[in-house]
């Protein structure tokens, strides 16, 4: 379960900590032009998608400690490419968005057996949306984190991607079709992941298609911007993480996702950080964008549907025997509650 095989029948390098460290050291040595040692490989327990490790490096000039991310062929959103995350983070190094610096990446399977990238190890902890009441964000800490969270989002959406290597991502994406392209993209995933017919998914997709808004601006969109995907140190956000769904699109898409009830950490606040009005006022003032209520509603429904589809991906991975992690079928039980939330918003519920 959850094991890949290389073409010669042997387990690929990333499946074993020793061969993973060895493969990475060899590759870094080639890149750096000298002997590189990799040790202290420690896997982080979270995540169903990319595997994340902390590593110590010797002989590699850019860093002595780093984060290694590996995208296994059976991950939730597989097949993977390390390039979108690597290219976007490389471009954002020149921005005001707090994000890890990236050192290198490759989709060449002959190196570790799976796409991977190496980035800066940023210090900090991750507040989670599903914590208990005692873990809620309060007082000045909450206010400062809210400022950082909204400020980073506005900086991301103001970022001039056209002036960077990301300009080639813009082929075919327009203000008019940004929303429809995302609907098409997620519908393709839905058809790959669904284990049974879902009338509600068809109903919601139809609702979204006739209401797809025109974007006010084409921005770099994080795709999973929420509580749980940033690092905090001394009450400040030190890095926004998990850029695997990054793409060009309507910036309001990120707001729709952040506004989901699932990420409110047991409060009424957006991501447990700020009230809706306060969030919108601050975001609009910093980004220079206007967030219309209908556009926000559209992207909240789109985000809920995206969440339901992600739960279907979990069901599919588990059913296909790719994982035995019991969190996956548990996630799948949340498809119906998410559908119910969609029905309430689009008026399909009695």
């Amino acid at each position: 379960m959850g094991q890949a095989q290389a073409a010669n029948g042997a387990a690929p390098a990333f499946e074993n900590p020793d061969t993973l460290a060895e493969g990475l050291a060899k590759h870094l040595g080639r890149v750096a032009g000298g002997r590189v040692t990799v040790d202290g490989l420690t896997k982080y327990p979270a995540g169903f998608s990319w595997r994340t490790y902390s590593v110590r490096l010797r002989g590699y000039p850019p860093a002595q400690e780093a984060i290694l991310r590996v995208g296994p062929p059976y991950g939730l959103f597989a097949p993977y490419s390390a390039m979108p995350e690597f290219e976007s983070l490389s471009a954002l190094a020149q921005s005001r968005v707090p994000a890890p610096r990236v050192y290198l990446a490759s989709d060449d399977l002959s190196i570790l057996g799976a796409p991977f990238f190496l980035s800066e190890k940023v210090e900090g902890d991750t507040p989670l949306p599903w914590g208990t009441q005692s873990q809620r964000l309060e007082g000045e800490r909450r206010q400062q984190l809210a400022e950082d969270f909204i400020g980073a989002l506005a900086a991301l959406h103001k970022f001039d991607w056209r002036a960077t290597a990301l300009s080639r991502w813009g082929d075919g994406v327009t203000l008019d079709n940004a929303a429809l392209r995302q609907i098409d993209d997620w519908e393709r995933r839905f058809r790959r992941w669904a284990l049974k017919p879902h009338p509600m998914a068809h109903r919601a997709l139809a609702w979204l298609r006739v209401r797809a808004p025109k974007a006010e601006r084409l921005s770099l969109v994080h795709g999973d911007y929420r509580l749980g995907n940033f690092l905090e140190r001394n009450g400040r956000i030190t890095a926004i993480l998990d850029w695997e769904l990054v793409h060009l699109g309507d910036p309001v898409e990120d707001l729709g996702w952040a506004f989901l009830p699932q990420y409110r950490g047991g409060t009424r606040l957006v991501c447990g950080l700020a009230g809706e009005e306060e969030f919108l006022a601050r975001y609009q003032s910093l980004s220079g964008l206007t967030v219309g209520p209908e556009t926000l509603k559209f992207y909240i429904v789109f985000s809920l549907l995206k969440l339901a589809f992600t739960h279907m991906a979990a069901a599919r991975c588990f059913e296909d025997g790719l994982f035995n992690d019991m969190r996956m079928p548990a996630m799948a039980t949340q498809i119906a509650p998410v559908f119910r939330q969609i029905a309430k918003i689009i008026g399909a519920s009695a």
Partner: protein, 161 residues
């Protein structure tokens, strides 16, 4: 439920064996966990999803099919679902296949209704309302027949009040 019962049981046993038992202290406690695996494996050979649960879903489909059939004359060419609850009690796999086939018909109808582009608006709206009511009943049914979520416990590894 979204996953098959067989796969759920198989995954539960594998998780206990690989991720839980190695961390349990004491022979007695580990023995109990192996007992749970044994019983899960026994259940896997004999259990299936409840016929009563699947029949509940099929009855809702039948009800919606009947309501939509009354619109047949107003919606010529519409792929209206035709689902009847079986009179006898087939096994769960047959019921599940019948439910999925009915839901596939419902999906086809939803897609067809969207393509009507303003034609036969009255009948299309009536059909849409029946479809919405159907979806509403099915999601409510699934929610009322599901267990209390335990995500906080699963995340923190401790019992919550």
């Amino acid at each position: 439920m979204n996953n098959s019962l067989e796969r759920l049981i198989e995954g539960m046993a594998a998780t206990l064996r690989a991720d839980v038992i190695p961390h349990i202290e004491g022979d007695y406690a580990r023995g109990q966990a192996f007992g749970v695996i044994y019983m899960l494996n026994s259940l896997k050979l004999r259990a299936s999803w409840s016929n009563a649960f699947l029949l509940g879903q099929l009855r809702t489909l039948e009800e919606a099919s009947g309501a939509l059939a009354s619109l047949a004359a107003e919606l010529p060419g519409a792929p209206l679902p035709a689902v009847a609850t079986p009179k006898d009690l087939p096994d769960a796999a047959e019921l599940q296949a019948a439910r999925d086939a009915g839901d596939a018909q419902m999906c086809a109808l939803i897609d067809w209704l969207v393509q009507q582009n303003g034609e036969r608006m009255d009948a299309v709206s009536k059909a849409q309302a029946i479809v919405d009511e159907y979806i509403n009943k099915q999601t409510k049914y699934e929610l009322t027949t599901g267990a209390r979520p335990m995500f906080v416990e699963m995340s923190g590894g401790a019992e919550q009040g």
